[in-house]
Symmetry: C2
Subunit: 334 residues, 2 copies
DNA sequence: GTGAAAGCGCTAACAA
DNA sequence: TTGTTAGCGCTTTCAC
């Protein structure tokens, strides 16, 4: 194994000089810098992570608690994680993947100093982990927005604004009776923070615009088509649909197309979806989509966490504004 | 921060005794063990991961290189990762998530001793990382099966056998002209190991049974339905379909149902899918499915890696045999 | 069955 | 601008 001592010897300097060249915490003459850099390069030296973390009280690792469980939007979770990983690497941080189930994983990582900070995904409105997280030695950023704001830092997409935006658009298009086809029952029951907020934005906007809106948790697979039939057959005045459920979306879109066949054009159902652009594209035929910038959420959360670690001032609540995307292609098709 | 010295003092023993109680590498009197255990409990002591890794030359961390990129079967990747994480935790290992793109991430983690071993996913048949991996100081297990076997340890689902099994079933059901609707073009082009092996099993079995089989990479979204039409309209003698593409499956199944409406029963197309049970269930209406035990793949790979770390003898190639699942429910529906 | 003490490789005072 | 050295918290010889 190559150690800092090997590098120092090769460069003809002291150990501390090598350390300071790496950290930049001391002014070093250019000549020395170059010699050390060359030695590091030639020996392909990489400081021992454990030794460094022991001496510096910092591991340069971020603990990420990601939901690997069912019912969540896998596609979205993966993209958020991708955003986290790539942003973290830019600042030389590594990501430790914590088993998602319990809060004890957070405490273990915290007490063993294996992590400098935490990123917690899949936060529920009244999450039981909140107290634990607040008591952690290391700073944390939640991806989500629990009800009891506490004094935790949060980053998320503004689902409430998205719910309102969808209503606004559907109303603009002339609909007076609309429906939200949302997350699977298990997600809703858990009061996953985003589902709650989306529903709130939707409901409040409906009230504000004086239109009637109903909310329907949806299964994620082919059963979504059945649910859609139920909803539409139960109330034939529904003419606008807002879908937030990656697993249901393709089936809902398909069924909508099927129902449209042979029906009077006036009876066509309008659909706005909330999903990542890739999902929208895969489903196809969607004219208007509210973009869910999953990777950006992960990156943003990581940036906030890094700011926190750097001691820079940060907002407590950071929400990414929704953006409506109109697909030229889909419009042309229509 | 609580250290081992605090525990030693609280228990009235020496530091080394505490260490030996934790590791079990020395016989300690029951009385002492109990005293130490109580002290650890009361102080909620957790050894400093960095210090431990420095002193013991082992980090108790497994580096996982997972593909977060597009075109892969997100659902499957997530489940594999879940399998890895939960199995690793059982043996007190943590998971470091490595950015997936380059081999340099592996080398960095290796040289900095931040990891004891590697788990590499999304292996291509002729993967450029192979040489790098073989040169790593830490042992590695590939989830996949590259062409040049090298002397790397591999764990994967037996895609080749699965391809053959699907053909066998379709032939048993009387089909003489069958088609494989497979991974997206980008996956096939990269020669992702599983896509290659599935195709090989399919082709070889077709030859062995004397039936004609064609292979069609499929886009993952709604475009899959269009591809299906093309395939079926181009050759109307095709009566059996084998689908391995989570993103395409719902659309293919839907389109198949749509085409079946009003068509003579004799012209019905038979479908076998390769996917995780959850996906099959979400899609619905599938009578026969070859189970892709994603979580088990991750767990199995992790177990092999742990055996490797423990110095136990392991097989070089470990393949999980395919299993055909007949859905009672779907059969009843039909 | 238990302790004392020498490192593990690094960072960051303290000295020069 | 650079070097010397005392820890960081743990594991593991060596000694009893």
């Amino acid at each position: 194994m190559t150690t800092i001592a090997d590098v120092a010897k090769a460069a003809g300097v002291s150990i501390s000089t090598v350390s300071y060249v790496m950290s930049g915490k001391r002014t070093i003459s250019v000549k020395t810098q170059e010699r050390v850099a060359r030695a590091i390069e030639e020996l392909d030296f990489r400081p021992h992570a454990g030794a460094r973390s022991l001496a510096s009280q910092a591991s340069h690792v971020i603990g990420l608690q990601a939901p690997l469980r069912a019912g969540v939007d896998v596609q979205v979770v993966m993209q958020i994680v991708a955003g986290v990983v790539s942003e973290a690497r830019k600042q030389e941080y590594d990501i430790l993947l914590l088993a998602s189930d319990d809060a004890s994983g957070l405490e273990r990582a915290d007490r063993s100093s294996s992590v400098d900070a935490f990123l917690v995904m899949d936060v529920e409105s009244d999450d039981t982990r909140l107290a634990t997280i607040a008591a952690l030695g290391a700073p944390a950023v939640l991806i989500g927005l629990p009800a009891g704001a506490e004094d935790l830092t949060c980053v998320d997409f503004d689902f409430q604004a998205a719910g309102a935006l969808a209503v606004e658009r559907l109303v603009e298009r002339g609909h007076r009776r609309i429906a939200l086809v949302g997350s699977p029952p298990e997600v809703v029951t858990r009061h996953t923070s985003y589902a709650d907020r989306l529903a709130r934005g939707f409901t409040e906007a409906c009230a504000a615009f004086g239109v009637e809106g109903s909310i329907h948790p949806s299964p994620s697979g082919a059963d979504a088509a059945r649910l859609l039939d139920e909803v539409l057959d139960h109330d034939s005045s529904i003419s606008g649909l807002f879908v937030h459920n990656e697993g249901a979306l393709p089936h809902v879109a398909d069924r909508l197309r099927a129902r449209a066949v042979g029906a009077p054009a006036a009876a066509a159902i309008d659909l706005i979806a909330l999903c990542p652009p890739e999902v929208a594209h895969a489903v196809g035929g969607l004219t208007e989509v509210i973009d869910l910038p999953a990777e950006e959420i992960g990156a943003a959360a990581t940036r906030v966490l890094e700011a926190l670690l750097a001691g820079e001032p940060t907002e407590r609540v950071n929400l990414l504004a929704p953006r409506l995307v109109t697909s030229k292609l889909a419009v042309d098709e229509a």
